[in-house]
């Protein structure tokens, strides 16, 4: 259970799922946004979804974060509940309805981050075993310093859980954030082979990287089936 078997690419639905993963500041959201624009402008049947975006657990997450009540287990379960809601009410119906679904972060975010918090990888794999396996998982990898500097420069103050302060690694937020991100980065790296990640170099120029991303999507997914119907 610790390492997932290579996913069989036989689908029980006509849709397709493309996922981006990577630590904060790796450039993944920018790249997925550009991919989405390209497909939107082309008129393709797509849907964009984000990790942690449903109103379902917002009040609980806020309550838990404000009063710092979240443990590694409840933090993880709350996000899993949130993901399940999105999965059952958006992702699965859209895949069955023949959509190309684009996801900014997916279950690998939970595997990397929650394991860095101390949850057992085996427990996490089981928890998310109901999720459909992506057709492509792009893993955006930037060196730790590059990624951390992008985040720290753009934000006045790092949040408590974001910086991994609950782990008690360091009393200094910037320091804690850096160590936490390093652990997450290592966990991502360990999944590259087992989960068939497509490695993307986050230091490459934005437009060049986007060109490569579009090329890979075009090669691996038959975009024709999501194209606008000709009259």
């Amino acid at each position: 259970m610790a390492t997932a078997p290579a996913p069989a690419l036989k689908r029980e639905y006509p849709g397709a799922l493309v996922v981006v993963e990577g630590i904060d500041g790796s450039g993944k959201s920018t790249q997925l946004y550009l991919l989405k624009r390209w497909l939107e402008i082309g008129g393709y049947r797509i849907h964009f979804t984000e990790w942690n975006s449903s109103p379902l657990v917002k009040s609980a997450t806020r309550r838990g974060k404000q009063r710092r009540l979240l443990t590694p287990t409840t933090f993880s379960l709350l996000h899993a509940a949130d993901f399940a809601d999105r999965c059952e009410r958006q992702i699965m119906p859209l895949l069955h309805g023949g959509y190309l679904v684009l996801a900014d972060r997916y279950i690998y975010t939970a595997f990397a981050r929650d394991a860095a918090r101390g949850c057992s990888p085996h427990w996490l794999r089981n928890l998310y075993s109901f999720a459909p396996t992506p057709d492509i998982t792009f893993y955006f990898r930037a060196p730790l310093d590059v990624a951390v500097n992008r985040i720290v420069a753009g934000r006045p103050k790092l949040k408590y859980y974001e910086a991994g302060m609950d782990l008690g690694i360091s009393l200094d937020r910037a320091e804690s954030f850096r160590i936490f991100q390093e652990r997450i980065l290592n966990n991502y790296d360990a999944m590259v082979d087992s989960d068939n990640f497509v490695l993307m170099d986050g230091t490459v120029r934005v437009n060049k990287l986007q060109k490569l991303m579009r090329q890979i999507v075009g090669e691996r997914i038959s975009l024709q089936q999501f194209a606008p119907k000709k009259r």
Partner: protein, 274 residues
């Protein structure tokens, strides 16, 4: 979760704990683990000196009545009691109430919200109580959550996997009542039958009574399986309150080493004692 662990005599536990320090892993393996799988991150099982007693059973099985009576009895015997139950967590208790009222939540989301509710109570209320040597009386536990999700088609192994980091109860009582009796009791109490207790999300029948009976029968079958797997103490929940309570006291007393099981409810609780 393996059967046969009960053969390890309880009295040996303190000695074995001492031996474990000397011998390490070899001695530890002889003890039944306090957790089903690996313990929760950051928890040291040896610190948990209290006792966890679980009362399971459907609505109308008399759980809450028995817990009120047991609490009074244990407190009169000088034991401090902490209780837990479903949807009582600070973190998501109210959120689940909201989801249930809307009836739009899907099965996996609900199952995971309940597990969040469970672990929040376990980590922030129950484990601290057990560290302080309290008796925890649980008004339902992971078994109800597993049974409800399993009858809705979520895999048993998946569910056991989620709860493998939870604490194994010292005693689990199952107050078993026939669905028809549970229906009578619930109807008498609330003049109606709740949407979720009759499994109406599962489209079993348009008739509320039929739906309730079918749903509760499915839950009961799950409990029969869980009872074997986890070694429940099965009790006839259709007996009188006093009879059920006497048996509960006897079993708990022998576990805790209390000599007397004599108990008469105080004036405040006599209305429960029928």
């Amino acid at each position: 979760m393996k059967r046969g662990e009960k053969s390890v005599p309880k009295a040996k536990a303190p000695k074995a704990a001492a031996a474990r320090k000397k011998k390490g892993k070899a001695a530890a393996a002889e003890l039944p683990s306090r957790f089903y799988g690996s313990p929760l991150p950051g928890v040291k099982p040896e610190e948990l000196s209290g006792t966890l007693v679980v009362i399971e059973g459907t609505d109308g099985s008399g759980r809450s009545t028995q817990i009120s009576l047991l609490t009074e009895w244990l407190e009169s015997e000088g034991f401090a009691v902490q209780t837990m139950g479903l949807r009582r967590s600070y973190l998501v208790g109210e959120d689940i109430d909201g989801l249930l009222a809307e009836n739009t939540v899907t099965r996996m989301t609900l199952a995971l919200m309940y597990s969040t509710d469970f672990f929040d109570q376990l980590e922030r209320r129950i484990l601290p109580a057990l560290r302080s040597g309290l008796i925890v009386l649980a008004d339902r536990y992971i078994f109800t959550l597993i049974a409800r999700a399993a009858v809705r088609g979520i895999g048993r192994d998946y569910l056991h996997g989620i709860y493998e980091t939870s604490l194994r109860p010292d005693l689990t009582f199952w107050l078993n009542v026939r669905p028809e009796i549970a229906f009578d009791r619930e109807f008498k109490k609330s003049q109606t039958i709740s949407y979720w207790e009759s499994g109406r999300d599962m489209s079993l029948s348009n008739d509320l009574f039929q739906s309730f009976i079918r749903y509760q029968s499915m839950i009961k079958r799950e409990f029969e399986y869980l009872s074997k797997r986890h070694g429940f103490i099965e009790m006839d929940g259709e007996s009188s309150v006093a009879d059920v309570n006497r048996i509960l006291r006897t079993r708990i007393a022998s576990h805790l080493g209390i000599r007397s099981t004599h108990y008469t409810p105080s004036h405040a609780l006599t209305h429960l004692w029928r």
